[in-house]
Amino acid sequence: MTRKLILWLPFGLLMGLFAAFWLGLERPSDHIIASRMVGQPLPEFAAEAAIPSLPGLATADFRDGKPRLLNVFASWCVPCVQEIPMLLRLQQAGVEIDGIAVHDNSADLSRFLTENGNPYDRIGLDQDGKAQIALGSAGVPETFVIDGQGKVIYQHIGVVTEADMADLRKMLASRR
C-alpha cells in the first residue's frame, strides 16, 4: 500500500507544479520593488537646477540636521499631479520638500508647477536617471524621508494620499 502511494508521488508532485505554474500565468506577479537604500546614507548624487527659479540638489544638502522629503517625480507623470495637494499641505506644515525631476525639461516643469502649485524648495533635474537609480527608485512618484544626518529612513512608493500622511509625518518627526 505504502509502495503504491510512493509510486504516485512523482505524478502528484508534477500535478502540483502544473497547478502552481497555471496559477502563476493567471496572476502575473507585479512586484513592488522597494529600494535597498532605506536605512542607508543617501547615496552621492548631484542634480543640476531643473528650473531657473529654484536651486538644484546634491547629497550634501541633506546633512543640515533637518529631516525632509525627497520626492521623485516628473511633469509627464499623471499620478504625480494627484499628490501635489498633499505635498503642499506638508509644505504649509513646515516640511521641506526637495524634488528630483526624472527625464524632464525646464519648460514642462515650469508649466507643471504653475498649474498644480509648487511644494518644492529645490528641484534637481535627473535627465539620465543617475540620481533615481542611486536612490533605488523604480518609478514615479516615489517619496523618500531623509533624516537630518542624510540617512534614508523611509520610502513611499506611488502617490501620496490622505492615508499616507500620518506615516510620513511620523517618520519626519522621528528624527528631529
Partner: protein
C-alpha cells in the same frame, strides 16, 4: 555654382566632423571596445527592467531601462567587472533585479530541490530494479 558645391560639401562633412565631439549616449550606442560591449550586452540580458518586469533591460523601451543600460556600459567602460555592476544594481533594488539566482540560505531550496528530486528518483528506480530481481 562654387558656392553650391561648398554648401553640399559642408552638408556631407558636417555630421562627420560633429560625431566624435557629440556625447555618445550609451543607452543605445555600443561601447567602442567589442570585448567590453559583449560583456555589457551579456549583463543587460540578465538584469530585469524594474518598470516592465518580465523583460531584461536589453529588450525594454522604458526610459529607466535605457538609464540602466547606460549605467551598465559606463561602469564596464570604467573597468568594472560585470559581476561588480550586477552587485551595484542588486544593492539598489535587491535580488529581484537580477535574473541570475544567487546561492544564499534563503535560496538554498532552489538549488537543493533538483538534487533531492534526482536522488528520490534514483531511489525509486533502484527499488524497482531490486523488486524485479527477487
Amino acid at each position: 555654382m562654387k558656392r553650391a558645391a561648398l554648401f553640399i560639401a559642408a552638408l556631407i562633412l558636417a555630421p562627420l566632423a560633429a560625431s566624435p565631439i557629440a556625447a555618445q549616449d550609451y543607452a543605445e550606442v555600443s561601447l567602442p571596445d567589442p570585448e567590453q560591449e559583449s560583456q555589457a550586452l551579456a549583463l543587460m540580458d540578465s538584469i530585469r527592467c524594474v518598470v516592465c518586469q518580465g523583460q531584461p533591460i536589453s529588450g525594454s523601451n522604458a526610459d529607466l531601462a535605457g538609464d540602466m543600460r547606460r549605467l551598465v556600459r559606463e561602469h564596464i567602460a570604467a573597468g568594472e567587472s560585470p559581476e561588480q555592476v550586477r552587485a551595484f544594481l542588486v544593492g539598489k533594488y535587491g535580488d529581484w533585479v537580477s535574473f541570475k539566482p544567487v546561492v544564499r540560505s534563503e535560496t538554498l531550496p532552489l538549488w537543493l530541490v533538483p538534487l533531492l528530486a534526482l536522488l528520490g528518483g534514483g531511489w525509486l528506480v533502484a527499488n524497482r530494479i531490486r523488486v524485479r530481481k527477487a
